[in-house]
């Protein structure tokens, strides 16, 4: 259901299903998700909390906890210089290093909490570089200072010996970006990287990321619940709901002509700065509990276009609504993908 790509994708996710073993039984977090990311492409992953977007992202680095069960047919393949790495088949932590800080890096929502409080920024950056490259400590330190300078941290040679609590919120996220990019990964996973920041700082950090992406030519999986941020950052977008991809397509297409009722609902829920008096129309109802997943189309309990007898009985397959624009909905008149 992904858009046709001109070359081998950098990352290919197929039929990814993730369940968690709990005392209440198996809980489904992600159900049959597929997408590709081309080299240098920015893919936005949008959804409410509980939609499975963070779990999907963590699966790419195998960071989900020990009670995670991946379905046998699930595949995550990273293409790296002619090698195809089957991520879910990696067994040892040593082998996972290639997707953990090597060819793939991740930045998290809380920049303060993602730095170890009793280690300096420099200690953490140097540690990663020594682990992944053949740099000496001295070279790694010089490179780390250079990276801090690139993300716009002033006096980086002094700042590198400071702790995260001595940095401001925006600076911490800049340092996090510097650390993530220091090993020149091919893919950067950004999990709500600006959600915890002030709006003005958020714009600066987004600008910085856009610039660095162009410079380094790496791909980004950008996770957010904010469609406004996606519109600025991403080339393509995948909208997730309750563990499934509802709609994928080029960002402008999806935002101007949403095909899936859920995407349309999300767009309607955005406040309009030009018309502050316009009433907000939230998506009706609440996201169902993962313990009680709806049958059929998972969105049918909240869908304004729900077709009784169909939507609650069968899972909709993907329909191509336009070239590169795909949605999974029975209410669409499209060509089956």
């Amino acid at each position: 259901m992904a858009a046709p790509l001109p070359e081998t994708p950098l990352l290919s996710v197929q039929d990814l299903s993730i369940r968690f073993r709990t005392d209440e039984g198996l809980i489904t977090a992600v159900d049959g998700v597929s997408f590709d990311i081309a080299p240098g492409e920015v893919l936005g992953l949008v959804g409410e909390s509980g939609s499975g977007k963070s779990v999907t992202a963590k699966a790419l680095m195998r960071l989900n906890p020990g009670n995670t069960v991946y379905a046998p047919e699930s595949r995550i393949v990273l293409h790296d210089e002619g090698r195809a790495i089957d991520v879910l088949a990696l067994k040892r932590a040593r082998d996972m290093m290639v997707v953990r800080g090597g060819r793939v890096s991740m930045i998290f929502q809380e920049p303060m909490a993602s730095f170890a409080p009793a280690l300096t920024i420099g200690q953490q950056m140097v540690e990663q570089l020594v682990l992944h490259t053949d740099m000496t400590k001295r070279q790694a330190r010089a490179h780390a200072i250079d990276m801090l300078a690139r993300v716009g941290i002033s006096d980086p040679a002094a700042r590198i010996d400071q702790y995260a609590f001595e940095f401001s919120g925006g600076m911490r996220q800049r340092a996090m970006i510097a650390m993530a990019l220091s090993t020149r990964p091919r893919l950067l996973i950004a999990d709500e990287p600006t959600t915890a920041l002030d709006v003005t700082i958020q714009a600066q950090v987004l600008d910085l990321m856009r610039g660095l992406v162009a410079e380094y030519g790496m791909a980004i999986l950008f996770i957010t619940h904010d469609l406004g941020v996606i519109a600025q950052m991403a080339d393509r977008v995948a909208v997730m709901y309750l563990g499934r991809v509802a709609e994928t397509g080029a960002v402008r297409k999806v935002i101007r002509t949403p095909a899936h009722p859920y995407t349309a609902g999300l767009l309607n829920a955005l406040p309009n700065v030009n018309d502050p008096d316009a009433p907000l129309t939230p998506v009706a109802g609440d996201i169902p509990s993962p313990l009680d997943r709806p049958t059929g189309c998972v969105f049918h309990t909240r869908c304004p276009r729900m077709i009784p007898g169909t939507c609650d009985a069968a899972v909709p397959s993907a329909h191509v609504v336009a070239p590169g624009h795909v949605a999974a909905c029975f209410a669409l008149a499209g060509v089956p993908a």
Partner: protein, 336 residues
């Protein structure tokens, strides 16, 4: 560096003020005990068949300086303690308290310190390991062991070991020295003899301390383990022992250092009971004797003061250690 020295001096001054306050409280408690030292000693004399008059008591009070005002007596007591390490004379035994307590207090402190070291030598690795181990069997075994440690009273454990030891070796393992060595002067053989026996009180005291420390180490490390910075470190490819020691274990260190002072206090409080059962001649037993049997307020006060002094000193040390271990504390005391 200068800022750090200032911090250390400030803390030392605070410790000193605490000690002075404690000394005042201890001294007041000593004075609150009905009948003073002179009356008690002479009352003891009458039981030995001597005739005592009120004039004798007054004379004895004057000799001991008990006719002086309260505050003056406290200042003199504190002055002697701090400047000369002299706690005065025991009320009943009429020998210098320092001579009575002397190495006994060091012995007790040594046993407590050894018990604590024993406890943390086991609790740190096991606690850290069990915080990360996902095996439910292992976790339940460890939990059972530590509950046993918490629930089984020390004196019962001591009695059980004595019983087994008597049945198996024909020696109850009581006392800190064997019969032949008890009154011998210190020598290599005596030291070895001491070590061959001291492990028992160390083990018994360390047993519950281990269980306690293991629970708190486990809780602290597993708390750190769930934090985002650990996942972020893992996302950078750090794994195995390096991840464990440099991230969750390293960051749980602060609260563990913090609890050392309390642990010493708890172990010391348990020492007298164990000492009575094992017939140890150490200062905890001496304190119990002084408090409960002979009502020797000079002696009891001295031991309580020494004990509090050790705890205040240890807390001073842990404050300094904590400042060194935690950059947030270090920066706040040493500046940028």
């Amino acid at each position: 560096m200068i800022l750090f020295l200032r911090f250390a001096v400030m803390r030392a001054a605070m410790a000193l003020i605490t000690l002075l306050t404690v000394s005042f409280i201890v001294f007041s408690l000593m004075a609150l005990v009905p009948a003073n030292c002179a009356e008690r000693y002479l009352a003891y004399k009458t039981t030995q068949g001597e005739q005592i008059t009120i004039a004798d008591i007054r004379a004895e009070e004057r000799r001991l300086g008990l006719d002086k005002p309260y505050v003056e007596r406290w200042v003199r007591w504190v002055g002697n303690v701090f400047l000369e390490g002299d706690f005065g004379e025991s009320c009943i035994l009429r020998v210098r308290v320092s001579q009575l307590v002397g190495d006994k207090f060091l012995l007790s402190l040594g046993i407590c310190a050894a018990a604590l070291i024993f406890a943390y030598a086991i609790a740190l690795p096991v606690g850290i390991f069990s915080a990360t181990a996902s095996s439910p069997v292992l976790n339940n075994v460890l939990r059972l062991v530590s509950y046993l440690g918490l629930a089984l009273p020390n004196f019962l454990l001591a009695l059980i070991i004595m019983l087994i030891s008597t049945l198996v070796f024909g020696d109850s393992m009581t006392g800190l020295f064997s019969r032949e060595m008890r009154d011998a002067p210190w020598s290599w053989d005596k030291a070895m003899d001491f070590l061959s026996r001291a492990w028992l009180p160390v083990f018994i005291l360390g047993w519950s301390a281990t269980a306690f420390a293991m629970q708190s180490v486990r809780a602290l490390v597993s708390d750190e383990y769930g934090k985002l910075y650990v996942m972020a470190a893992r996302a950078r490819g750090i794994h195995g022992a390096r991840l464990l020691w440099r991230y969750p274990a390293r960051h749980a260190l602060g609260p563990i250092i913090n609890s050392l002072g309390f642990d010493l206090n708890r172990v010391f409080n348990q020492l007298p009971i164990v000492a009575v059962i094992l017939v140890l001649t150490e200062s905890g037993a001496l304190l119990l004797e002084a408090l409960a049997r002979s009502n020797d307020q000079q002696l009891a006060g001295a031991i309580i003061f020494l004990l509090t002094g050790s705890i205040v000193a240890l807390n001073f040390l842990t404050d300094i250690l904590l400042a060194l271990a935690d950059p947030r504390v270090r920066r706040s005391v040493m500046g940028g």
